[in-house]
């Protein structure tokens, strides 16, 4: 009950808060419709028995994957990517719904009694569950969405994936970016010294030595391969990253988003300019102000107080989910819960981060805030499945 309680309150708070831009009455109205639908969905999910989910997890996953493949052929092309089904005036994005589908599948797979994370086969299979949709979405050219699912590695981590692997992959990713900017040789020296350091600190086993050696080789490969690989990135992504790293300062084109967004937020000052008074967003200075850059409206209209409040709100939500996940009796629920938390975390991290220039521009929405029916419903489903699972945890005797 309590779980339901806070779940509802949060939903209510989120759903009503929406970018209010006067000449957007059309979108404003539409979003209200979506919200209505979301509330309906929430109810439905709460009604459906919790057992439904683990049972049908694989099927849901399968449907989702199929829809991802299908959209390649049947989908409407929007801005260079074929990722939408259109039904008349409304659009549905399968990629959004894949999020909870993968969570369910992953939860189902890992909750099986015979599965252990320490098993290499397990690891690979789990990774495969994540990787399949990622690749499918990537093929749709929705790189931003594709990357989202990779965050679910964190879930694997919670379930026993060794930490160093996580750190290693993070390190590699980081290295990639760094290698684009800095000269390769210096980096090689740096990594070699780091490797030596680790070697001295770790147990002097041959196995470790091999690992570190392999790691170094991999690192070198990345260092040298980064720059040329980077050149092959699609143009707009290159630009975004370049601008983010500060190599380019293109005040006109691609950096428009970033510059305008941070100006909008910065201009909010301590307490913001007031509701509906956001001049930057209001006058269309911030592109995509109602979708990916919705946080700018908050920052500009509600200032520092508002911005921090939202950050805090999300932080609170995510931590709450984690704590609840820990309380679960069933592994399925727990794993699923972590999945939900991770996905929310990633979205919030990247979306807000890109508006304040801590993260390069990656087009993903802010949960419950950004305009968009698919994303709203997908997040609603994602969250409420968990709420339902949690509400019935006491009834699970596994």
């Amino acid at each position: 009950m309590l779980a339901l309680g806070w779940g509802n309150i949060y939903s209510a708070v989120y759903d009503e808060d929406h970018p209010v831009i006067l000449d957007m009455t059309q979108k404003y109205g539409k979003q209200l419709l979506w919200i209505g639908g979301a509330i309906l969905i929430a109810f439905i999910i709460l009604i459906i028995d919790a057992e439904f989910h683990p049972t049908f997890a694989w099927i849901i996953y399968g449907v989702s994957m199929a829809s991802l493949i299908l959209v390649r052929f049947l989908g409407r092309e929007v801005a260079g990517s074929k990722s939408w089904f259109r039904f008349g005036d409304f659009g549905v994005q399968p990629a959004e719904f894949a999020k909870f589908a993968v969570c369910l599948a992953l939860a189902k797979y890992l909750s099986d009694i015979n599965i252990k994370m320490s098993d290499m086969k397990t690891r690979l299979r789990a990774f495969g569950i994540i990787l399949l949709p990622t690749l499918l979405i990537f093929l749709e050219k929705e790189t931003g969405c594709a990357i989202i699912l990779l965050i679910l590695i964190l879930v694997l981590f919670r379930e026993g994936l060794p930490g160093y692997l996580l750190l290693l992959s993070l390190g590699m990713a980081f290295l990639f970016f760094v290698a684009v900017v800095f000269p390769p040789l210096k980096l090689v020296y740096f990594c070699s010294s780091l490797a030596l350091l680790i070697f001295f600190l770790a147990k002097k086993k041959l196995r470790n030595f091999i690992f570190i050696g392999m790691g170094l080789v991999l690192a070198t490969g990345i260092i040298f391969g980064a720059k040329p690989a980077f050149e092959h990135f699609p143009e707009h992504q290159k630009k975004r990253i370049n601008v983010f790293l500060g190599i380019e300062t293109d005040k006109k084109d691609k950096a428009w988003n970033e510059n305008e967004s941070i100006i909008a937020i910065g201009s909010g000052g301590f307490a913001g300019k007031g509701y509906l008074q956001g001049t930057q967003t209001k006058y269309d200075f911030v592109p995509a102000a109602e979708t990916d850059f919705i946080f700018c409206t908050v920052g500009e209209e509600w200032g520092f107080l508002g911005g921090t409040f939202i950050v805090g709100l999300f932080a609170f939500l995510i931590i709450r989910i984690i704590l609840l996940a820990e309380r679960q009796r069933s592994a399925f629920s727990r794993i699923y819960g972590y999945g939900v938390a991770s996905i929310f975390l990633f979205h919030v991290l990247v979306n807000i981060g890109m508006t304040i220039r801590l993260v390069p521009v990656i087009g993903i929405p802010l949960p419950f805030f950004s305009y968009g029916g698919s994303s709203l419903w997908a997040f609603t489903i994602l969250l409420f499945i968990f709420i339902k699972l949690d509400s019935q945890r006491l009834m699970i005797l596994r």
């Binding site: 026993g160 910065g266 201009s267 000052g269 001049t279 932080a315």
Partner: protein, 617 residues
């Protein structure tokens, strides 16, 4: 439970870390760093440029020559101009709907931009401004910027003072002080002393609300920069002389330049036909400029005082006389015959009737052509020169030292250097070694290829007045209240002629006015005016009337050159005008009103047509 449940702390820790980082970043961006608040694209502010009043210009007696009046520019930021009642707006402004659309389009496109303010309507009339200002709150995105434009109380000195106009891309690219829509001096004093006159622009940051109404200054003007008003200029000009000279030159073409020989200050600089400088001010400027420009007969925009090319005519004899003496081939008692013309070349050039032979001073007084032809030949053909070319080069050097054939670097723009041909010039025309002194003998009497401007003529008079040197002619006396001297004009520029040779020429000039061809210039018995008439031959029509003079003979105060195109003999028009101006300058009044009236009524421009027509019939 699950063996890895401690890992939850890592998760939670991660979440908290990210939240904290973002909070800090937000704090920095929103509270600490002012940068984004002040970004020029932040439409909560408007950057108002404060244009300082431009400096005035005064004459030597403190009379005002140029001052300012206020103009109102209507500015627009297209992005903010939404929901405009265009019908009402156009009615208030007095423009059509089409015009409105067009202007908006211009304001939105390069080099303007929809998010920046740019000029919508330049220099509204005061009435339009008043009517609009009442209702301007209804029109979001529009605001008024005040500017100063020029006004001329006496409508004189158009060429001298110059005018101001908008900067073009050339200027904005080279000099970052100027932005699109700024004004800059285009000609005359406005141009030369632009930096003193313009002052320094200031910026005010003004807060506006979403309705674009001003709410006050940002942080009490902490980030504002104050504007600095332009400094006023005091010139050496004498407004009365300038005015009278312009008046006397009505219906005549030509130029007058008068200089104070003791300082080099320009007393007046007149070009005729002239125009009312108020024409090139404000909204009507482009239109009026077009009208003036298309007057191909009078060419009023052409500054004849500085740029008018005329043959010096007989006035040039003075220089030849000096050169001859310096070269020791000519002496005060040297006599040459004249048979109503230069006898050596069969009577060409011709000469008017007078006694013969004459000595040097008499030759000056009577303006005998033949005498100076002989003089010229004697200079060029000296035995010490192996070739004509060598002699000519030496002669030319002397001439150049008088400030002709080159620029004398006054502080007025568009000065031309005149023409004193080089030996190479004659080589090209006649062939190397194919020309002698007799070929170019017309130079002796100031004809031929010689070309000189009225400014240079007046400068020569300064040289004569000072017996051998000149100060660079300049119009500026001082800048600002503190009477700052910004340039040192006090250097004496000497010619290559020694002082002692000047006396006899000056005596001759005195006699010109006392008893010679310039008798008409004399206005009383005590003032000794020294002058020289000139009749510049003009192959296209009537000769030009030229008169140069300085007065008084001892301790001269004014040197003047008057050129009136197509007006006949020097004594006919140029001399009386010069005399009237000299008298006014030295005595502050006119004693010969009848003469003044006659000069006023003399109409050469329309008269010239008559003459030409008669000749054809």
């Amino acid at each position: 439970m699950n063996p890895f449940n401690e890992r939850k702390y890592i998760f939670i820790g991660l979440v908290l870390l990210i939240a904290l980082t973002y909070t800090v970043r937000l704090f920095y961006v929103q509270v600490i760093d002012d940068r984004y608040k002040l970004d020029a694209r932040n439409q909560a502010f408007r950057y108002v440029t404060d244009y300082p009043p431009r400096g005035f210009v005064y004459d030597r007696n403190g009379k005002l020559l140029v001052f300012n009046q206020i103009a109102y520019d209507l500015m627009v930021t297209p992005k903010q101009a939404k929901n405009i009642d265009t019908a009402l707006f156009c009615k208030l402004l007095g423009i059509t709907k089409d015009s409105y659309i067009r202007k908006m389009q211009i304001a939105k496109s390069f080099p303007n931009s929809p998010i920046k303010a740019s000029i919508f309507e330049k220099q509204m009339t005061a009435e339009t401004y008043a009517a609009l200002q009442e209702k301007i709150y209804k029109f979001k995105g529009f605001f008024v910027q005040t500017r100063t434009i020029r006004k001329y109380p006496d409508r004189i000195g158009a060429h001298l003072l110059g005018y101001i106009g908008e900067v073009d891309k050339d200027i904005t690219e080279k000099n970052p002080y100027y932005h699109d829509g700024d004004y800059i001096g285009v000609n005359g004093i406005e141009k030369t002393y632009e930096e003193y006159l313009r002052g320094k622009k200031g910026t005010r940051i003004v807060m506006v609300d979403v309705h674009n109404a001003t709410k006050g200054s940002f942080q009490n003007g902490k980030y504002d920069t104050a504007s600095v008003p332009g400094q006023y200029l005091t010139t050496g000009l004498d407004e009365e002389i300038q005015a009278m000279g312009e008046e006397l030159m009505i219906n005549k073409r030509g130029g007058i330049v008068a200089i104070d020989p003791t300082t080099g200050e320009i007393i007046c600089a007149i070009s005729s036909p002239t125009y009312d400088p108020n024409l090139l001010v404000g909204r009507e400027r482009s239109h009026n400029y077009g009208l003036l420009f298309s007057d191909t007969v009078g060419v009023p925009l052409y500054n004849r005082a500085l740029m008018g090319y005329y043959p010096p005519g007989s006035t040039f004899k003075l220089i030849n006389g000096l050169i001859g003496q310096q070269e020791h081939v000519l002496f005060p008692e040297t006599r040459y015959p004249c048979a109503r013309g230069y006898p050596v070349m069969g009577g060409k050039p011709g000469c008017h009737p007078h006694a013969s032979p004459l000595d040097l001073q008499q030759a000056v007084t009577q303006s005998c052509n033949s005498y100076f032809c002989f003089t010229f030949r004697s200079i060029i053909d000296q035995k010490k020169f192996s070739t004509t070319e060598e002699g000519y080069k030496v002669w030319r050097n002397y001439v150049l030292s008088f400030g002709i054939g080159r620029k004398i670097n006054s502080d007025l723009p568009h000065e031309l250097k005149g023409m004193v041909p080089t030996p190479e010039y004659y080589d090209k025309y006649f062939g190397h070694g194919q020309w002698k002194s007799s070929t170019i003998v017309s130079l002796s009497i100031g004809q031929g290829e010689l070309l000189i401007t009225p400014l240079q003529m007046a400068n020569i008079m300064c040289i004569m007045a000072n017996r051998g040197y000149y100060y660079v002619p300049h119009i500026l006396r001082s800048v600002g209240e503190k009477k700052q001297i910004v340039h040192d004009w006090s250097e004496k520029n000497f010619t290559l002629i020694e002082k002692k040779y000047f006396d006899i020429m000056v005596d001759g000039m005195e006699q010109v006015v006392q008893a010679g061809t310039g008798r008409i210039a004399k206005y009383d018995d005590t003032t000794h005016i020294c002058g020289k008439t000139g009749t510049a031959q003009n192959p296209h029509g009537e000769n030009h009337s030229v008169f140069v003079a300085f007065a008084p003979k001892d301790h001269p105060k004014i040197a003047i050159a008057v050129v009136v195109e197509n007006a006949g003999y020097g004594a006919e028009v140029a001399a009386p005008i010069a005399s009237l101006l000299i008298e006014k300058y030295l005595t502050k009044k006119i004693s010969r009103p009848a003469l003044k009236q006659k000069m006023l009524e003399k109409d050469i421009i329309h008269g010239a047509y008559k003459i030409r027509k008669e000749r054809r019939d």
